[in-house]
């Protein structure tokens, strides 16, 4: 019950931050985002206590972790890069909490031997950070199609992707480094790995094209295609029952 209450609380605060951000009530939006972060932290602790382990055992656990990284990132973007993206980061946090509420509640979680590695926490955390930021970039790419400030939004999306890409790279290749000791091969062409590589390649293509004016119109679709690849890697590969994956313990 407490977990549901905290999840709903976090979702409502993220939604409020998003609405206030859109209405240019910057200070209130940041306050709500801070509240969302505190609630998400309490949720992380509650999940950890319930699971009696690091709360990365299922998709609900992982989705609950998103607001925890998105709120400080919004603050960082505003403080260090001078771009106020609170509304967009809050929207991504709200989306993740909606996803978390849709996932079934699993009381306990046990780390199987292959998961007991020092790579586990950094690998998952870096992917959560990367996917969170890439969600924000996709929202910005969609928002850049409408209203005023299209180019500024596209630039902001680029800033966010630049922030996310090293995390995505770390997630992908740290997984390979881990697999080398756990599965006796650094690349197994598992379906999850294949889609993670596809996602990485899409953003790689984005980086190769962003420097050319003639390809400027490709950037928005590429950000969206990249986000679709993220969704497939994170949700479809995990949730489709017909898929057999050596990453199946991540379901």
């Amino acid at each position: 019950m407490m977990i549901y209450t905290l999840s709903i609380g976090s979702l409502l605060m993220a939604l409020a931050a998003c609405v206030l951000g859109c209405l240019r009530q910057t200070e209130f939006a940041r306050g709500m985002m801070a509240g969302c972060w505190v609630t998400a932290l309490a949720l992380l602790v509650a999940n950890g206590v319930q699971a009696a382990a690091l709360p990365f055992g299922n998709m609900r656990h992982v989705l609950c972790f998103f607001p925890l990284v998105l709120a400080p990132a919004a603050y960082y973007m505003q403080r260090c890069r001078g771009i106020d993206l609170t509304a967009f980061f809050a929207a991504a946090a709200a989306l993740s909490m909606v996803g978390a509420l849709c996932m079934p509640m699993q009381a306990s979680w046990r780390q199987m031997p292959a998961l007991q590695s020092p790579w586990f926490a950094p690998h998952v955390t870096s992917y959560v950070i990367a996917y969170g930021f890439l969600t924000v970039s996709a929202i910005l790419a969609v928002a850049s199609c409408f209203g005023s400030g299209k180019q500024a939004r596209l630039r902001a999306a680029d800033e966010v992707v630049m922030l996310a890409f090293p995390f995505l790279t770390f997630g992908l290749w740290s997984g390979a480094l881990w697999a080398d000791v756990a599965w006796a091969r650094y690349w197994a062409w598992d379906i999850k790995e294949a889609w993670a590589l596809i996602t990485w390649c899409v953003y790689l293509l984005y980086f190769h094209l962003r420097g050319y004016a003639s390809f400027a119109s490709w950037l928005r679709p590429l950000l969206l295609i990249g986000f679709v690849a993220v969704l497939i890697t994170f949700f479809v590969v995990n949730l489709l029952p017909s898929i057999q994956s050596i990453h199946s313990y991540a379901q």
């Binding site: 046990r110 400030g149 630039r155 890409f165 290749w173 480094l177 006796a184 057999q244």
Partner: protein, 373 residues
């Protein structure tokens, strides 16, 4: 080429119904990889144009900075581990401090050169060359990697010194591996104070011998094939008994023989497996002298010896024979270090390029709006 690669990626293995992992592991994917690596090599060369010496010294500095950090981390951890295992605390603290200081000094000095030498453009060149290094390692492994699956019985005293690879070739390991003991721990279950016993019972009724095993609190008769009989001996679960050992027993109506032996720890436990490990002995040589090493083989902790890595993949327990069979993988991958170095380099170079960059996105030519988000 990009479209072709996308088709292979998407249609060959990225969907379960169309999935064909053999395509990924085949020559087509390798060819795409080689072409991509050559393009990355060319891209890196162009990006570092005019600054090749600076770039090479930058990469050397990166190597030493990373080595310094890894040294500080690994030996610091080992010192802490030593202190935690009962070693002298002052020794642990001193060793940790010394290695940390040396490693960090290394990292600071070479890190300074690194920051001076590398520009965002050279970091980007580094990203490209690391991609080439990964593919080079993968191609080497594709051509020369040797893999062999070994089924090793715990405690049978056999030494594994040669393997038959998946390609059907026999290879000497250059060392011998013996699996002495095996242990499983489960969540929510405490390990028993004394080892559990495995019981086999051989009975004789009218000249006919039958065997039973004690499982789940009751005696389960074994099918006939398990017990083989010669003129004066009986063979069961890989062990030989004399028929004369089957004697009258005060509480059992027929002559019988009870054979008890300790069970490997935790193999019959219930619940989620927490950890399993095998105690092994590696018989090798060091500078021409024989050396015996005691190692613990675990998931996520392979044994490395003479270009070979031995991985623990899984295990099975035969309740009749009371034997644990480990599924091990022996792997000799000559390109592994190149691929792993490329991966580490790629992570570092990508982070440095993305986070210390000075390039901006090229604006769309038609858009002339105010920069409000």
């Amino acid at each position: 080429m990009v479209l072709g690669a996308a088709c292979v990626l998407l249609l060959a293995g990225a969907f379960p119904i169309l999935g064909a992992p053999a395509v990924f592991r085949g020559g087509v994917m390798m060819l795409i990889g080689v072409v991509a690596a050559l393009l990355a090599l060319w891209g890196g060369w162009r990006l570092s144009a005019g600054k090749h010496a600076q770039f090479i010294f930058g990469l050397v500095s990166l190597y030493f900075t990373t080595s310094g950090l890894i040294t500080a981390w690994m030996y610091g951890c080992k010192a802490v581990e030593h202190a935690m295992l009962g070693g002298a605390m002052w020794f642990g603290a001193l060793a940790m401090a010394c290695t940390m200081v040396v490693g960090l000094l290394f990292a600071v000095i070479f890190g300074f050169f690194l920051l001076k030498l590398m520009s965002p453009r050279l970091w980007l060149a580094g990203v490209h060359w690391c991609c080439t290094l990964i593919v080079a390692g993968a191609v080497l492994d594709y051509c020369y990697e040797q893999n062999a699956y070994i089924h090793a019985t715990v405690g049978d005293g056999d030494k594994i010194d040669a393997v038959t690879t998946t390609a059907g070739e026999n290879h000497s390991l250059g060392f011998a591996l013996q699996v002495n003991d095996f242990k499983v721990t489960h969540y929510d279950a405490a390990a028993p104070a004394t080892p559990q016993q495995h019981h086999l019972l051989i009975t004789e009724q009218g000249g006919q011998y039958t065997a039973a095993v004690h499982m789940h609190g009751r005696w389960m008769p074994l099918p006939k094939g398990h017990l083989t009989e010669t003129e004066d001996t009986l063979q069961l679960a890989g062990r030989r008994f004399l028929k004369s050992e089957v004697k009258a027993h005060p509480t059992i109506a027929y002559p019988c023989l009870l054979v008890s032996s300790p069970m490997p720890q935790g193999v019959t436990g219930t619940g989620t497996v927490k950890e399993y490990s095998a105690a092994c002995t590696v018989f090798t040589d060091h500078r021409g002298r024989p050396e015996t090493r005691r190692e613990t083989l675990k998931v996520n902790a392979p044994i490395a010896c003479k270009d070979w890595h031995i991985y623990l993949l899984s295990y099975s327990y035969d309740p009749i024979c009371n034997q644990v069979t480990l599924v091990l993988q022996a792997r000799n991958a000559p390109g592994r270090w190149y691929a792993l170095a490329g991966m580490v380099g790629l992570i570092i170079c990508t982070a440095c390029w993305c986070w210390w960059r000075r390039e901006q996105i090229t604006p769309e030519p038609t858009d002339k709006e105010a920069p409000a988000v």
